[in-house]
Amino acid sequence: MFEAFLFFAPASLIILGALIVIFAKNPVHNAMGLVMTLVSLAIIYITLNATFVAMVQMLVYAGAVMTLFLFVIMMIGVDKKEQTTDSIKGQTFLVSGVFLILISLLVYVAVSSDFKWDLWFPPVEYDVEGTPQLIAGTLFTAWIFPFEIISILLIVATAAAIALAYDTKKRNSNA
């Protein structure tokens, strides 16, 4: 019972946060909704035995990335009104289609598994602790080459961000 609570409470918070993200008018509220979603996700990760990933999720996403978002929101202002009324071609169809599929999928899973939710993935007992030791052991042996590539990607992204955000015009006029 406690296990179920540990799932359903964060899950509802996740969905709530996500809805805030897409429906709130104030960008700061959007960001706060996102933080809620991410933190709740970290809790879910812990229930899934992925403790290290949960920690990183808290630090990188809820910490660094969200700070960046808030920083940019503050920079470009929050008082800009945004019109959401006009729709584009096919949007209504898509929205309804996505909803329809999502709901029918959930109903199908629930009904055909007799409300046990084990239609495709019946419960199994594996005990994998996502400890830093285990993750590092895999990451730095079998996946060392993608890891190095991803580090190059990060450096390139950093350089690109600097190049993009650096205001050459203003800088030159000041100097």
Partner: protein, 639 residues
């Protein structure tokens, strides 16, 4: 040990010496005057000939057992290597080519005097000699093919040597293009050989002819035959040789009389073990040789260009050699090749001397009575004429008689061939007699008091060749089979047609001498004492037939015009149509269609690129839906 090896290698020097000379002269083109060029090219040719003679003597001491030298192996499987061989057959050709090359170069130094491209001539000449030696000394088909193509190239260069004359440039092109037809056949023959024997080596192939079916051998022989026809100017592919006379006369003497045109004969003798397995090929060789011999001899009787008569005569004599090969008389073919090389070179050089003295006038109607002005040339040309007509004991008699006797010895349908060959021999004597009489004897009413005998550099080669033309026939008489011994290794597995014995041989010899004499006498009657003017021809109603014969002969039975109409104009029209239909509509159309198709489709698809990020999100969503549907549908369809 080292000495033995170097002795084997020494004949390679005679092959590559002309090549080195050509390069050397090319590099020093600006530096050397005519005298220097003469010095180097003549000494190199003489050295080359000396080495050739030395190698030949060494070969003779070795009882004519061949020496093979493989320079290096190019590909191990199939076995393709670069190698040379010195055996009886190639030894004869080696000596012939280097010897004639020296004599003719000696003549050329005087003939080409003060030409603006003097050194170029000798570069081409040496290059030709190298290619020819490559051809004859090769130990496999590949090297032979290299030589085969290179002689075509150097022949092209020498034919159109005076390229400022449009006719010369055109003649070079014609020779090259027609030879290409033959080379095409030769190349296909080589491919079939490689496919069946897995090697190009002559000895390996010729010793294993039994392993391949007769049909394949016939196919190979026919394709190689096409090559031989092209190079040796045989019936369908002969018209380039008369045009090739635009080149310098000494070059004609070497290339288009003595050596290059005999490459086809040489090649066929080389592959004689193949040929004897194919009756069809042998028959075809005889028939085409016969057609060529008769046609060319007929065409020669009413030509007025001093060199064209000799050109048609060459074609006709080559026809004789082909007849000999077809009749299985390979020794006779090579024998005739050798004798013909000497007396035809003599005739060409004599013609060159006449042309030189006549200030490049080549029409024999404007000559006549030159005997008094040019006694040495006249007598040497006379020797050549008698030799080619088959008057004993000159060279031509022995070889031609051997061919005729061999053809007769085959029996059956070959009796008819023999009679026709005899007719060609008669025609030969006739046109050669006419040729000599028109140049040196008959008075055509032109003043020739300013004509002098050719310089000594020209008459000396003539005398040398004249002596050879008289005596070279004794190397292979019915009493002394010298050449047969030389070639015994090459013809080890070949059934050579043997001459008839005793009285038959004598009768045949008398008949062939008779044909020669009759031809000369009739020529003398017509052109010497002009019989037709003394008696009334009206009585015999012969005017029209004679006119017809003259017309047909001069125009070579209109074969050239037919060929021109059929191949050249026909091809032109065809290619024009092809250009319009295939190129204009098909290819241009398809290319244009592709470009317009791309243009249209890109215009259509570019409308979807609105630049609105949210539109792209919509596309993303659509394809996401499609993906989900696929994921759900696939297991359902499978179950």
């Amino acid at each position: 040990m080292w000495l033995e090896v170097s002795l084997e290698f020494i004949f390679l020097l005679s092959i590559f010496l002309p090549f080195l000379t050509a390069i050397f002269l090319f590099l020093n083109k600006k530096l050397f005057n005519e005298l220097m060029t003469n010095f180097f090219t003549l000494n190199a040719a003489l050295l080359s000939f000396a080495i050739a003679a030395y190698s030949f003597v060494a070969l003779a001491l070795n009882k004519f057992n061949g020496v093979n030298i493989e320079l290096f192996q190019w590909i191990s499987n199939p076995d393709i290597s670069i190698g040379f061989t010195l055996d009886g057959l190639s030894g004869i050709m080696l000596i012939l080519v280097t010897g004639l090359s020296f004599v003719i170069q000696l003549f050329s130094t005087s003939y080409m005097e003060k030409d603006e491209n003097y050194s170029n001539y000798f570069i081409y000449f040496n290059f030709f000699v190298f290619s020819m030696l490559l051809l004859v000394m090769s130990s496999n088909f590949l090297v032979m093919f290299f030589g085969w193509e290179l002689v075509g190239l150097s022949s092209y260069l020498l034919i159109s040597f005076w390229s400022k004359k449009p006719a010369a440039a055109k003649a070079g092109n014609k020779a090259f293009v027609i030879n290409r037809v033959g080379d095409f056949g030769f190349l296909i023959g080589l491919m079939i050989i490689l496919d069946n024997f897995n090697t190009f080596d002559f000895y390996t192939i010729l010793n294993n002819t039994n392993e391949v079916s007769e049909n394949t051998i016939t196919l190979i022989s026919l394709f190689l035959l096409l090559g031989a026809f092209g190079k040796s100017a045989q019936f369908p592919l002969f018209s380039w040789l008369p045009d090739a006379m635009e080149g310098p006369t000494p070059a004609s003497a070497l290339i288009h009389a003595a050596t290059m045109v005999t490459a086809g004969v040489f090649m066929l003798v080389r592959i004689s073990p193949l040929l004897q397995h194919s009756n069809l090929a042998s028959l075809l060789i005889t028939v085409f040789g016969l057609i060529t011999a008769l046609l060319a001899a007929f065409s020669a009787i009413n030509q007025y260009d001093i060199k064209k008569v000799l050109a048609y005569s060459t074609i006709s004599q080559l026809g004789f050699m082909f007849i000999a090969i077809g009749a299985g008389a390979y020794v006779a073919a090579i024998f005739h090749l050798v004798t013909h090389a000497f007396f035809k070179a003599l005739l060409f050089l004599g013609a060159g001397a006449v042309i030189h003295s006549m200030h490049h006038e080549q029409d024999i109607r404007k000559m006549g009575g030159l005997r008094k002005q040019m006694p040495i040339t006249a007598s040497m040309m006379g020797v050549g004429t008698l030799a080619i007509s088959g008057i004993p004991p000159l060279a031509g008699f022995w070889s031609k008689d051997e061919i005729l006797a061999s053809v007769f010895a085959n029996g059956g349908i070959y009796y008819i061939f023999w009679a026709l060959t005899l007719g060609a021999a008669f025609l030969t004597a006739f046109y050669m007699g006419r040729h000599w009489l028109l140049i040196f004897e008959k008075d055509n009413g032109f003043e020739h008091s300013d004509i002098n005998e050719a310089p000594k550099a020209m008459t000396r080669p003539l005398l040398l060749l004249g002596i050879f033309s008289i005596f070279i026939g004794f190397i292979n008489t019915p009493f002394f089979h010298g050449l047969e011994k030389v070639l015994h290794v090459n013809l080890e597995y070949v059934e050579v047609t043997h001459l008839p014995e005793g009285i038959t041989l004598i009768v045949l010899a008398v008949l062939s001498i008779g044909a020669g004499f009759t031809g000369l006498i009739i020529a003398f009657l017509f052109f010497g004492i002009e019989l037709h003017k003394r008696i009334d021809l009206q009585k015999f109603k012969l005017e029209y037939p004679i006119k017809l014969i003259k017309d047909l002969s001069f125009n070579v039975l209109y074969l050239n015009k037919f060929g021109n109409l059929f191949f050249v104009s026909g091809m032109k029209n065809l290619t024009r149509k092809v250009a319009v239909v295939v190129d204009g509509i098909l290819i241009d159309g398809s290319v244009n269609f592709v470009s317009t198709a791309f243009n249209t489709t890109s215009k259509i698809t570019s409308t979807t690129q609105t630049g609105m990020v949210r539109n792209y999100v919509v596309y993303f969503g659509l394809f996401l839906l499609l993906l989900i549907v696929l994921f759900i549908a696939t297991p359902m369809l499978q179950s």
